[in-house]
């Protein structure tokens, strides 16, 4: 176990946004955090990062608070008009280990090159930030996350406005992190194919939370209950889902 949360109450200045939040993440787990706008997803992210104090409950890091949580925030909070190159963004992943002025050693340099190679950004390493597409920027930020080499990785809506092939490449990277025994927590904007790469889900909504394996947590009943879907959307989704399941299992009938 890396992180466990017991009956958390989260919010700002004593005002609860969501309570009864319990979940746990083990090494190699990929946890999806899903919920409607204002359900407390960002509040949870800040709480895990330690920038927002808990109102109640207990958040325990087993094996000590990690020295580094690799965090990738929403791109809307990113300023691309600063005159730097893609390579500098990836290097930022190494800065916290280097302190104020330490130089990057050859091993660190090699790690940065490898991360750009892995994310397919090596060829555009010297491109200025404002010339990058959304997908290229996100690849660079994933490369930065690789360079951080952290046991816990926290991603906030990493696939919003990203094209399909970039999404596929980055999802392969998440699978790799999971295989390397890192714990990945990922806030998702919508219920997409991305969920196939997750092992568990935390559903937030209506001031409360549900946690468990995907198939028992993200059920139509729960999604309606926690205001993620309207009943008619859920019924439609269920019909689509059962038709898919039918065609998969009973293939010979037609």
């Amino acid at each position: 176990m890396v992180l466990s949360a017991n009956e958390l109450t989260l919010g700002y200045r004593g005002q609860a946004v969501v309570s009864n939040v319990s979940f746990h993440v083990a090494a190699g787990d990929v946890l999806a955090v899903v919920g409607h706008n204002g359900s407390g997803k960002s509040t949870l992210v800040k709480t895990i990062l330690g920038t927002l104090p808990l109102i109640g409950g207990e958040l325990s890091w087993h094996g000590g608070v990690p020295s580094e949580i690799a965090f990738l925030g929403q791109r809307s909070e990113f300023d691309t008009r600063v005159p730097i190159r893609l390579r500098d963004i990836v290097e930022m992943g190494a800065w916290s280990r280097l302190g104020f002025a330490g130089r990057i050693d050859p091993a660190g340099r090699a790690a940065i090159e490898a991360a750009m190679e892995r994310t397919g950004t090596a060829a555009i390493a010297d491109t200025p930030l404002h010339m990058l597409s959304a997908g290229q920027l996100q690849r660079a930020l994933f490369a930065r996350t690789i360079v951080q080499d952290a046991p816990v990785i926290l991603l906030d809506e990493p696939f919003t406005a990203i094209d399909q092939s970039t999404e596929a490449d980055l999802l392969a990277l998440i699978d790799q992190w999971s295989g390397e025994g890192r714990a990945v927590i990922m806030v998702l904007h919508d219920l997409s194919a991305v969920l196939q790469h997750c092992h568990a889900a935390l559903l937030l909504g209506r001031g409360t939370a549900r946690f468990g394996p995907l198939d028992t947590t993200l059920t139509p009943a729960n999604l309606v209950d926690l205001a993620y879907l309207t009943p008619s959307q859920a019924a439609w989704q269920e019909r689509m889902f059962s038709r898919d399941a039918g065609s998969l299992s009973g293939g010979g009938d037609v």
């Binding site: 990113f78 300023d79 008009r81 005159p83 916290s96 930030l129 404002h130």
Partner: protein, 282 residues
């Protein structure tokens, strides 16, 4: 045509503004990148009453100017964030209100108190004003600024580009930002004798905005900002030497303004009139 080299006050002014350019350029560069240009402008006016009260109480001393300026700067910054937090007025509006009050108060005290410094040099600077104390102040400002930048450059870059990432990594994320604002006030005070309180912030902003049009690396940006600041100071001082009725502040800022407009017109990331016209991509 080099007779200005024969005057000691001119040599002092050239030396002082050269050192000042080293220090004010990186501060201005990050002020622009952090989208704080207008906040810097407001801050420059907000520190006026502090400087003036220092003058009236303790006379023309650098120490009183620094203490007064810093006190006024911190007071206005604190009041601004308090008003933004606890009242319905937003931060920009409360800052604008406070700096206007502050500037008016400063000029009022200066005129009523009958200071030895003429209002025109106070507001717009003078090349005759570079006494020993001012040179020491500029030297100290440059030293503090450059050492600070060596220490805070990485967190400052991170918090400028990706503030949430910076917060996730730092136990005291606000420290870098507050230290940076302190450097802004310090450099405004350093620039104040040569440029005047109304023009000092111009040397911070204009070289930085002009340089941004030409470069796409941070090192290139900082170097070019410095070169533009230096060129503006030298050309402006010489201009002010010949047109002796013109105070040095507006002369320097007009040169910086000319560099800015040339950059807007011809630089690759401006309107790019020098760029070879390529066939349109579509």
């Amino acid at each position: 045509m080099f007779e200005w080299l024969e005057y000691e006050f001119m040599l002092r002014a050239l030396a002082a503004t050269s050192v000042l350019s080293f220090s004010i350029a990186p501060v201005g560069a990050f002020l622009v990148l952090r989208r704080l240009s207008l906040a810097g402008e407001a801050m420059a006016h907000a520190i006026v009453p502090g400087i003036v009260i220092g003058f009236v109480i303790a006379g023309l001393s650098v120490a009183s100017m620094i203490i007064g300026g810093l006190a006024a700067g911190i007071t206005v910054a604190l009041l601004t964030s308090l008003l933004a937090r606890f009242t319905i007025i937003r931060e920009d509006a409360s800052l604008a209100s406070l700096y206007l009050i502050s500037l008016a108060l400063g000029i009022f005290i200066l005129s009523a108190g009958g200071s030895a410094v003429p209002l025109k040099s106070f507001l717009f600077g003078s090349i005759l004003g570079m006494d020993d104390e001012t040179l020491y102040l500029i030297g100290a400002t440059a030293t503090v600024t450059l050492v600070s930048f060596a220490l805070i450059l990485r967190p400052l870059v991170t918090s400028t580009i990706d503030p949430v990432f910076h917060e996730s990594r730092s136990s005291r994320p606000g420290l870098v930002v507050h230290w940076f604002m302190f450097l802004v006030v310090l450099n405004l005070l350093g620039a104040f004798k040569a440029l005047g309180t109304l023009m000092a912030v111009g040397l911070m902003i204009l070289p930085a905005t002009a340089a941004r049009y030409w470069v796409s690396t941070l090192t290139g940006y900082l170097v070019l900002t410095f070169l533009f600041a230096l060129a503006s100071c030298w050309a402006g001082l010489i201009l002010s030497f010949y047109a002796s009725e013109v105070p040095s502040g507006p002369a320097i800022i007009l040169v910086a303004g000319a560099i800015f407009f040339v950059s807007v017109l011809f630089a690759p990331q401006g309107l790019g009139f020098l760029r070879r016209r390529r066939p349109s991509p579509r």
